[in-house]
């Protein structure tokens, strides 16, 4: 954790991370790493579907299902995908590949890269013990930097933080 005691005007932020799909992984990691770069003391609490973001091997998926606002740039226009098309076999995987290609092409960081930056910036990453139990994740499958905690661990941090986000 960043030693903020000696920094004038030091701030702190906590983020509850509840979603682990490729698209939803971005907001918490972008804000967490950027805040840390701006000398903010950051704590991220990974729970439910956010917890797989702390697995050593990331294999993030993306689905257009249930997301009518998703519009992929396509031949100068935009293409949304009706749910019934998104449900067809292979369409989800294809959309995921498209998204990853787009991310690379536009110079957007990968989640792996952002997580590495979070580790380097000493962002405190807490894995939810209850979620580990519930979905039977093994400690050794998760990154070494993960600390384990529960709701009270989060609350203690949140009560001291200037900013608390739920994503």
């Amino acid at each position: 954790m960043l030693d903020a005691k000696n920094i004038e005007n030091a701030k702190s932020m906590s983020i509850i991370v509840t979603k682990g799909s490729l698209d939803w992984a971005y907001p918490p990691f972008i804000l967490g790493t950027t805040a840390a770069a701006m000398d903010v003391d950051v704590t991220m609490f990974f729970t439910f579907y956010g917890l797989p973001l702390l697995k050593k091997e990331l294999n993030l998926k993306f689905t257009p299902l249930g997301n009518p606002a998703m519009e992929m740039p396509m031949m100068g226009g935009h293409m949304a995908m009706p749910n019934i098309v998104g449900m067809l076999p292979g369409v989800g995987a294809a959309a995921g590949t498209m998204m990853k290609n787009l991310i690379k092409k536009k110079g957007v960081a990968s989640i792996e890269e952002l997580r590495e930056a979070a580790v380097e910036a000493e962002v405190k990453m807490i894995g939810c013990q209850m979620t580990l139990d519930l979905f039977e994740y093994k400690r050794e499958d998760m990154i070494d930097e993960m600390e384990i905690g529960g709701a009270a661990t989060y609350m203690e941090k949140a009560l001291q933080s200037d900013i608390n986000l739920f994503i």
Partner: protein, 74 residues
Amino acid sequence: MADQTLNAEGLNCPLPILRAKKAIKGMSSGQILEIRATDPGSVADFAAFCNQTGNALVSSSSEGDIYKFEIKVS
């Protein structure tokens, strides 16, 4: 003259800021870091970054599609 330069061309938010922070960490007070970026959002972002971290944004300019920033490390 800059003491160090950072090429952030082609990188999108928040990578230019993260790379700049990393570079600044390895520099000493009073040194100048020059950054070249292509992300139009970096103009507002480097101003905010410097405002918050206390490093001085000595210059912010653009030449064509390239944005150039000079940061004096605090």
